[in-house]
């Protein structure tokens, strides 16, 4: 059910061309609005704080993580710092963490492939990747990634040879994880920006590798 695109706690008035169907706010949207307004009335939180946090959330996308990965690929000293302390490494690049979580960056190599999951809920490196996709939060992935990672990866089209070790990291507390995929072959001439374009959100979860290169890089 889609909601009307305006935030109804603004008191602006404007004429709608009501040819489009205005969706009825559902029960839970009404509850969310009521809870929020009561908290405002009790001066526990402010509308500005909510607006600001929505902006923060909107600013966090997989492009941030891709930038971290690309930088690690081109700068070995940065990569070492990133692997020692993922949160500090991201903060070096200006990615602030708005919560108390820490970050461990897990490097994929020829010998080790990392996959992240939160079997108990939906822990995910939100400050650097944005919000997780539904499938990451639903039962099939959460139940199965921890005991049949190879079958799960195969469903994403990823086949890991038997001589490569798989490590499945299950987040349960204060640490979040980000996979550092292997740098694709044939990218020696790529700029950091071009490299970042090869790094998808799913590669940083660990279900797929970074995009491979078969042609010249885009200008």
């Amino acid at each position: 059910m889609k909601s009307h695109s305006h935030d109804h706690d603004h008191t602006h008035h404007h004429p709608h061309a009501e040819i489009i169907e205005v969706a009825k706010p559902g029960y839970y949207e009404i509850m969310e609005t009521a809870v929020r307004e009561l908290l405002f009335e009790k001066n526990l939180i402010t509308p500005n704080e909510i607006r600001r946090q929505i902006e923060v959330l909107d600013s966090r996308t997989p492009a941030l993580g891709a930038g971290v990965v690309a930088h690690a690929w081109v700068d070995p000293a940065f990569k070492a710092r990133l692997l020692a302390d993922g949160r500090k490494g991201c903060e070096e690049l200006g990615i602030s963490f708005y919560d108390d979580t820490q970050l461990i960056v897990l490097e994929n190599t020829k010998h080790v492939h990392n996959l992240i999951v939160c079997t108990l809920c939906s822990c995910y490196p939100r400050p650097v990747l944005g919000l997780p996709p539904d499938w990451y939060k639903l039962k099939p992935f959460r139940a199965r990634a921890i005991y049949e990672p190879r079958a799960v990866l195969a469903e994403f089209g990823t086949y890991i040879p038997d001589d490569v070790e798989i490590r499945v990291s299950d987040s349960t507390a204060i640490v979040r994880y980000l996979v550092l995929p292997m740098r694709p072959a044939g990218t020696d001439a790529f700029t950091e920006e071009q490299l970042a374009a090869l790094v998808t959100r799913d590669a940083m979860i660990g279900v797929v590798p970074a995009l491979s290169v078969t042609a010249e890089p885009a200008p």
């Binding site: 109804h8 969310e32 108990l120 919000l131 099939p140 139940a143």
Partner: protein, 117 residues
Amino acid sequence: MSQTEDLLKRLPNDIGGMTAEPIVQVEHMLEPWEKRCHALADVLDFHKILNTEEKRRGVEGLGSEMIGKLSYYERWIAAFANIFFQKGILTPTELAMKMEEVAARLPETPADACANS
């Protein structure tokens, strides 16, 4: 041995290792209210009014039927309401009255969405 002890021993969200279907790579753009709900959780955490762990415990406390039937953010807001009641931040009556007020003010809202709750 009680047949129901597993319900207490295994939390409804503790599903690592259970049999499940193939993964369907579904995702959706968050509804505005869902995003507001997420922002609300973050702001409550900053203020130490309701921390992430309390939120998790609150969702678990909804029980398996609600967890199975409510969507992700529906579970959050229901859990927040319960936790606020426990903490004395809101009362059920306050929330019910405010929900009625919100429902009445918004256009195209079926009044009985709240009246039947």
